[in-house]
């Protein structure tokens, strides 16, 4: 076991990547038993700072001190030996190994000729009991749910002897209930000689869990203080560097006719013999935003696929503005007025290596004025792209830049520009702000509200309750391929939505 870390200091850390100053003279301190939240927008340098501490990167300037002694951390192994463990945002687990094998990978083995899994089992059991974290030691990682994998990560890091835990956006994939459970768990953990650095851009979590908060913006430390002394709005402003208004919809008295109707739809899942959609029905009227709330993996992706013609449906009907579009080709569905903001914005929403210009015309290049006979018209395409980039405020060096090199927020703006300016009758947006920072989220939300004002029927798939409550006229809760209930916005509470998302049926008859 590594010695207990009473005090950890990162002093004047500077890290440069080619062309970018990722960290600029950042200093943070951590005491034993403390939970420090590291708050900042995407690209602010939070993860880079922690990767320096964990030895994945090495700082260009500055020093790391443990209990007053300067230490050199060149490899993750150096960090692990000193008792620093990290749970990465994307879990660092090998899917086709068992839980024990994953943990054994980081443990010292006495013999090169025999893998001693029994010793690992003993250690895991000890840690699991001590911290009240149950894991299935012999299950393969791919068999576990996201919540279970999270626990495996925690057990792994604790088993390896960490007493400073770095958690990089640990709640990104959890339901509200799972998040609460995790927060309780972390609170217990710090009572046992452990301290935690918690990376997040979710303010309510930071408020709920941390003792202190350090805010990073563009690689600089802009704030360091006690969490209790500052309101969430205050912290949001420090993080974004300006005042943030969360856009909300205005109540409407009248809506148009039903535009998108999904009627009792059944569809296969990716695994053979499973139904991902089991008689799902939902309806969106013109000028309305309907939210689909649910923990991801309950059929949301398959629903989006089915509506956009990428997945065959076995039963039921999908109707767009009175026309049956069930099992039509994606091209036919697009032509009938369907807009789509996909979940995987880089790979499904764009062709990553194509330029911004090419991605912007992806759905219209076949028609005048962008093409004539068999030829693309360069002039028209350039001027259309230039004006869209300007109108949607896409930050890109020029229209020839590839989409893959843009930030998530700017990729989303390219997709929004392409989809919304086509004036579709219905728009499906799947997790449109996932992974985006506050500024970009605000922009995306304003665009969706604008689409609603213009009379589009918007179906919004999300697991962020705040987002749903701000934007949706009605919220449908999805669980295991069905809609459990549809609630008007005024009647929803987070508590109730959370329970429904976990599959607990609604109380009223």
């Amino acid at each position: 076991m590594a010695e207990i870390i009473d005090r950890l200091e990162m002093n004047h850390i500077t890290k440069r990547f080619p062309g970018v100053l990722a960290l600029d003279d950042v200093t943070i301190h951590l005491r034993k038993g403390e939970i420090l939240a590291l708050l900042g927008e995407n690209g602010a340098g939070k993860t880079t700072l922690m990767n320096v501490l964990y030895g994945l990167y090495h700082q260009d300037e500055g020093s790391v001190l443990i209990n007053g002694q300067e230490v050199q951390i060149y490899e993750p192994l150096d960090a692990l030996k000193r008792g620093i463990g990290m749970v990465h945002q994307h879990f660092m687990l090998v899917p086709n190994l068992t839980v024990l094998e994953n943990i054994a990978l980081g443990m010292y083995q006495h013999s090169e000729f025999k893998l001693d899994l029994e010793r690992v089992r003993g250690r895991v059991k000890e840690v699991a009991e001590r911290y009240n974290l149950s894991v299935k030691p012999d299950a393969y990682i791919w068999q576990l749910s996201v919540g279970e994998q999270q626990r495996v990560e925690l057990v792994k890091v604790l088993t390896l002897g960490a007493n400073v835990l770095i958690l990089d956006e640990p709640t990104a994939a959890l339901t509200p209930q799972q998040t609460d459970a995790l927060i309780d768990l972390l609170r217990q953990t710090v009572l046992q000689d452990t301290s935690i650095i918690f990376i997040s851009h979710k303010l309510n979590e930071v408020k709920a869990i941390s003792d202190r908060v350090a805010v990073l913006r563009n690689g600089k430390l802009v704030f360091d203080g006690n969490t209790a002394d500052h309101s969430a709005a205050d912290l949001a402003e420090k993080m974004a560097g300006r005042e943030i208004k969360y856009p909300k919809i205005q109540k409407k008295d009248e809506y148009g006719v039903p535009i998108l109707q999904v009627q009792n739809v059944w569809a296969d899942g990716d695994q053979e013999g499973t139904d991902s959609l089991q008689g799902l029905s939902v309806e969106v009227r013109a000028g309305e935003i309907v939210g689909v709330a649910g923990v991801s993996g309950n059929g949301q992706r398959e629903l989006a696929d089915a509506i956009n013609g990428i997945r065959k449906i076995k039963e039921g009907r999908i109707v767009l503005d009175g026309e049956d579009i069930s099992n039509h080709s994606p091209q036919q569905i697009i032509d009938r007025g369907m807009g789509y903001i996909p979940e995987d914005r880089l790979h499904e929403g764009t062709i990553p290596r194509f330029s911004v210009r090419e991605n912007l015309i992806m759905k219209d290049y076949r028609r005048a004025p962008l093409s004539k006979a068999l030829f693309l018209r360069k002039g028209e395409i350039d001027s259309r792209s230039e004006s869209l980039v300007k109108a949607f405020n896409v930050k890109t060096p020029d229209i020839q830049t590839s989409c893959a090199s843009l930030s998530g927020g700017n990729i989303q703006k390219v997709i929004l520009a392409r989809e919304i300016t086509r004036k579709p009758k219905a728009l499906l947006a799947a997790y449109p702000i996932r992974g985006l920072d506050i500024g970009a989220s605000e922009y995306v939300h304003n665009q969706l509200i604008q689409a609603r004002e213009e009379g589009m029927a918007v179906l919004l798939i999300s697991e962020e309750l705040d987002e749903l409550l701000d934007l949706c006229d009605r919220i449908a809760v999805m669980y295991e391929g069905k809609i459990l209930d549809v609630l008007p916005r005024e009647e929803c509470t987070k508590q109730e939505l959370g329970l429904l998302m976990a599959g607990v049926a609604h109380g009223k008859e």
Partner: protein
């Protein structure tokens, strides 16, 4: 006659499978660590020649085998350098290695040997006691010693891969190199070790072909076995036992094709010769693709600083 043909197929098939087994087990380690080496065929060619030539010069099969393995190891090391350190596209660098081995061995053969020449390689050794088992004894236990070694390497590879710390690292590195890296496993080192080991085993496969099986060298001696070995790794779902069944299946089909010609059965010769290869393609295309077993990072160079 049917029984005769069946026994003929088994007796003929087992020795043929040894070169495939060596190469394929070696390739399996490389692929498990995330690197596929299409150059296996070229490694087998060059090491078959080197092994043959040393026996031709000095008459020592052991020397020939050791030299062939050394040549294979060096070519594996070259593949590792190009694909692991320089992160080149693996498919292309493998084809380069294949052409290198093929061209160099052919040229050296023509310059230093010239024509077909037989050598005294390694003959069969019957295993005492076991060879006296009725029926099975003569079929299974009268083989070239390298054949016994090839089949012995199947359980040994299984043990190494699934029961040792090194094997665990290999499996992790080929699937999720980031995870292995964050736990202090040296991804590049493990990949170097596996690709080099694959080269050594391919070298052994080549040596078996020229010194053990054919006892001569000729252009195109390997006849695509190196590529079949790569396919067998997929066929065997990256497991030593699966690789073994694949090697046996291919070799027996090969032996059957020979028997058909020997017994003078009316069958177009060209199709018979192509059958084993067609069969591998068919089986690969039609078998159930079990999920969550293969190395997910196969073919992808690992670069720590490159991720977000």
């Amino acid at each position: 006659m049917i029984l005769e043909v069946v026994i003929g197929v088994i007796v003929g098939g087992i020795p043929l499978s040894a070169s495939l087994l060596f190469a394929s087990l070696g390739e399996m380690f490389g692929q498990r660590s995330g690197v596929f080496n299409l150059g296996t065929e070229g490694i087998m060619m060059l090491s078959a020649f080197v092994g043959f030539y040393l026996v031709y010069l000095f008459g020592s099969p052991v020397l020939g085998i050791v030299a062939a393995m050394a040549v294979g190891g060096l070519m594996g090391l070259l593949m590792a350098l190009v694909s692991v350190t320089f992160k080149a596209e693996q498919g292309i660098s493998g084809i380069g290695l294949y052409m290198f081995g093929w061209g160099v061995s052919g040229t050296l053969f023509r310059v230093y040997v010239g024509g077909v020449t037989n050598i005294d390689g390694i003959g069969r050794i019957a295993v005492p006691v076991l060879k006296d088992i009725p029926v099975l004894g003569p079929i299974l236990f009268n083989q070239n010693p390298l054949v016994y070694l090839a089949f012995l390497l199947v359980p040994v590879s299984s043990y190494v891969l699934f029961k040792t710390p090194w094997g665990l690292k290999v499996r992790a590195v080929g699937t999720t190199p980031q995870a292995a890296d964050t736990l202090g496993v040296n991804v590049q080192r493990i990949r170097y070790q596996c690709v080099t080991l694959g080269g050594v085993m391919s070298g052994l496969a080549g040596a078996y072909l020229s010194i053990g099986q054919a006892q001569m060298f000729a252009d195109n001696l390997t006849a695509g076995r190196g590529f079949i070995a790569v396919a067998l790794v997929y066929f065997g779902r990256w497991k030593p036992s699966g690789v073994m069944w694949g090697a046996l299946l291919f070799s027996m089909a090969h032996a059957l094709q020979r028997s058909i010609q020997v017994y003078g059965i009316e069958f177009p010769y060209e199709i018979a010769v192509a059958t084993p290869y067609l069969m591998v393609i068919l089986v690969l295309a039609l078998t159930y693709k079990e999920r969550n077993v293969g190395p997910l990072a196969l073919g992808k160079p690992y670069n720590r600083e490159f991720r977000g």
